[in-house]
């Protein structure tokens, strides 16, 4: 296999509050390969955003934040890099399309200026050339009147337009890696599809790798080559999209797919996972999923030992003590049936 563009190793992020420690990300490891689209899924609060932000060291620095592990990129560990060198990478080699486009633009500057600023930070140019490039980018992401919209303020943009502008900012410097954090959640369905097209187009044009964070398994099926499933700050399963969808080997993944409505499918596939995600200030012992797990059936080891992310087959890996029990179709269906009763 080719070398990964980015390799995350044992990444942990903790927030200390006055009376607790939030373990938002715990020993997370995964790779991103050139040109691929990696989907990252997991319920709200599973640590997806914190993982990505910590890689670029964009979490607000304070005494309360503890980050450890490695994020290898171009032979350098982003987590150990000097600020100056890190700045050279941010926005040029690695671009972030952040989660909420409504709050991610500076309200007091024209969108165009903010776009040009992204270019200027790495490729200083004349006012005119920056503007030309910016208008071009707005055109690329499908804004109808790029020349006019270049001079508008964020509050004059709709949600979809802002998301497009954020994508334009992301691809401005032809990055090697684009991290898109739920680029479509804030938008209505028709616009979602358009935005994904824009993102795909932009990615194809620059042949960048794309890390796509989402709640939406449908989107993963459509866009991603590989998947990382996160739960309570842990990676619980990872592998090719086709494998994961056909043969999930982690009850959480199975549960996620259970909450995915199947067209013309069975009623029983509409079950969401029972219970709610854990409070990350008090992650359950052993396997963090055990209080909600239907496969565990109260077995001791789930409560005592954290399962390792072990190989199932090829690059498919799962962190479950009893992943073998999910091996055949029958067991899966059985598990599904039990979820219903």
């Amino acid at each position: 296999m080719t070398e990964p563009v980015m390799s995350i190793q044992d990444l942990s992020v903790r927030f200390r509050t006055h009376d607790s420690v939030v373990r938002a990300v715990d020993k997370v490891s995964f790779d991103v390969y050139p040109g691929e689209t990696l989907g990252v899924v997991g319920e709200s609060g599973s640590g997806k955003s914190v993982t990505m932000l910590s890689i670029l060291r964009l979490l607000q620095e304070s005494k309360r934040l503890e980050t450890s592990g490695h994020a290898w990129f171009d032979g350098q560990d982003l987590l150990a890099l000097r600020q100056k060198d890190l700045r050279a990478i941010r926005g040029r080699d690695i671009a972030l399309v952040p989660q909420d486009p409504m709050t991610c633009l500076d309200p007091v500057f024209k969108v165009g200026n903010q776009l040009s600023e992204a270019i200027k930070a790495h490729f200083p140019g004349s006012r005119g050339s920056l503007r030309r490039k910016g208008v071009e980018l707005l055109d690329l992401v499908g804004l109808p009147q790029p020349d006019r919209q270049y001079d508008q303020y964020p509050h004059e943009y709709s949600g979809g337009m802002r998301q497009r502008a954020m994508i334009a900012m992301g691809v401005a410097n032809d990055p090697k890696l684009i991290i898109a954090d739920e680029p479509t959640t804030a938008l209505d369905v028709t616009i979602q599809a358009q935005i994904m097209d824009v993102l795909r187009e932009a990615q194809r044009e620059s042949n960048a790798s794309l890390v796509l964070i989402t709640h939406d398994l449908g989107l993963i099926a459509e866009m991603a080559d590989r998947v990382v499933v996160m739960y309570a700050g842990h990676v619980v399963e990872t592998g090719d999209v086709a494998t994961i969808f056909a043969h999930p080997r982690h009850p959480y993944t199975l549960g996620l797919m259970g909450s995915l409505p199947q067209t013309g499918g069975d009623e029983k596939w509409l079950r969401p996972i029972p219970g709610s995600p854990p409070n990350l200030a008090a992650v359950p012992s052993g396997c963090p999923f055990h209080p909600r797990c239907l496969l565990s059936k109260g077995r001791e080891i789930c409560r005592t030992d954290l399962p390792a992310l072990d190989t199932v087959e090829g690059s498919h890996r799962s962190a479950c003590h009893f992943k073998e029990e999910l091996a055949d179709e029958a067991a899966q269906l059985l598990a599904q049936a039990e979820q219903i009763t």
């Binding site: 709200s44 398994l217 409505p261 709610s276």
Partner: protein
């Protein structure tokens, strides 16, 4: 397309007494950990003790003149020296603390007593009542605390009572603003609306729910404003328009000492330092209280 269900994390209805006590204990610990707040409280305690126990701590009479002892530099006999009329400055500062502390507390109590009801009514009733009260507050704000106090003194004359009234009135609009904001946000809260629905009288609702729930921010705000009223009152004294000589009020002392800064600078240093320390004490204690009781007030 499917969204993974996003369950709310359970908040857990907090009602047990033990829980409240724990929270109070934690609050006290936070306050004590705040070194600045502790310093402020200690300074205030020191001045309170000096003021209360002045007759026990010094044998000098704060008003008795002795021209032969005028302008004695700080020494063993007069720790902070004597003023132009030979009075012991330390004794005057100790006794003067009584006036300063009293003025600060009474003035803010007055401002609270006037401003809070007006503000609560303004925010709770809304409509034209709100508009009238807000215009009045705007007018008072246009004068600002010190000018308002000066104007009042110009009308009602100088003296201790006038100073309390003037300094208190000076900050009334600030209290109106605060209480109005409290009433506005509390009015929206569900239980107040529920009380409305059950037909309990409006004023009862106002008293019971809003007053009780806005008590904490008002106490914090009041503490933070004592310092300001002390500054205003001493400022009046400094201009000769406050508590009148020979009463050992610190501002008045400073105003009289100002003439002698070139040959007896200590006569102005110490009264000024006393004002500064007491105001600092109230501000530090107020900041600390705010951080513990009501972080939302932080500005």
């Amino acid at each position: 397309m499917a969204e993974i269900a996003v369950p709310e994390s359970g908040g857990g209805g907090g009602d047990s007494l033990a829980r409240r006590e724990r929270a109070q204990l934690r609050g006290l610990r936070t306050l004590l950990r705040n070194k600045a707040a502790v310093f402020g409280i200690l300074v205030l305690l020191l001045f309170a003790v000096l003021a209360a126990a002045a007759p026990l701590l010094t044998s000098y009479d704060p008003t008795e003149q002795s021209l032969s002892d005028a302008f004695l530099k700080p020494s063993g006999a007069h720790l902070l020296g004597t003023d132009n009329l030979g009075r012991d400055i330390l004794a005057r500062i100790m006794y003067g603390g009584r006036y300063t502390l009293m003025i600060g507390v009474l003035a803010v109590s007055l401002a609270t007593a006037i401003g809070v009801p007006l503000g609560l009514i303004s925010g709770y009733l809304g409509g034209w009542v709100d508009m009238v009260i807000q215009r009045i507050a705007d007018i008072m704000l246009a004068f600002n605390p010190f000018l308002l106090a000066l104007l009042l003194v110009a009308v009602i004359g100088v003296g201790l009572k006038s100073v309390i009234i003037a300094a208190g009135f000076g900050v009334v609009p600030q209290f109106i603003r605060l209480a109005r904001g409290q009433a506005l946000s509390l009015r929206e809260e569900v239980y107040v609306q529920a009380a409305d629905a059950f037909g309990s009288k409006r004023m009862t609702t106002l008293r019971r729910h809003i007053l009780r729930n806005s008590l904490t921010p008002i106490v914090v705000f009041a503490t933070l404003n004592i310092g300001l009223t002390v500054l205003v009152a001493a400022g009046l004294g400094f201009l000769g328009l406050g508590v009148q000589s020979p009463t050992p009020e610190w501002g008045t002392m400073l105003g009289e000492a100002r003439e002698y800064i070139f040959y007896a600078s200590y006569t102005s240093t110490f009264p000024g330092l006393a004002i500064f320390l007491v105001v600092l004490g109230f501000n530090l204690a107020g900041d600390g209280l705010r951080d513990v009781l009501d972080p939302s007030l932080r500005a």
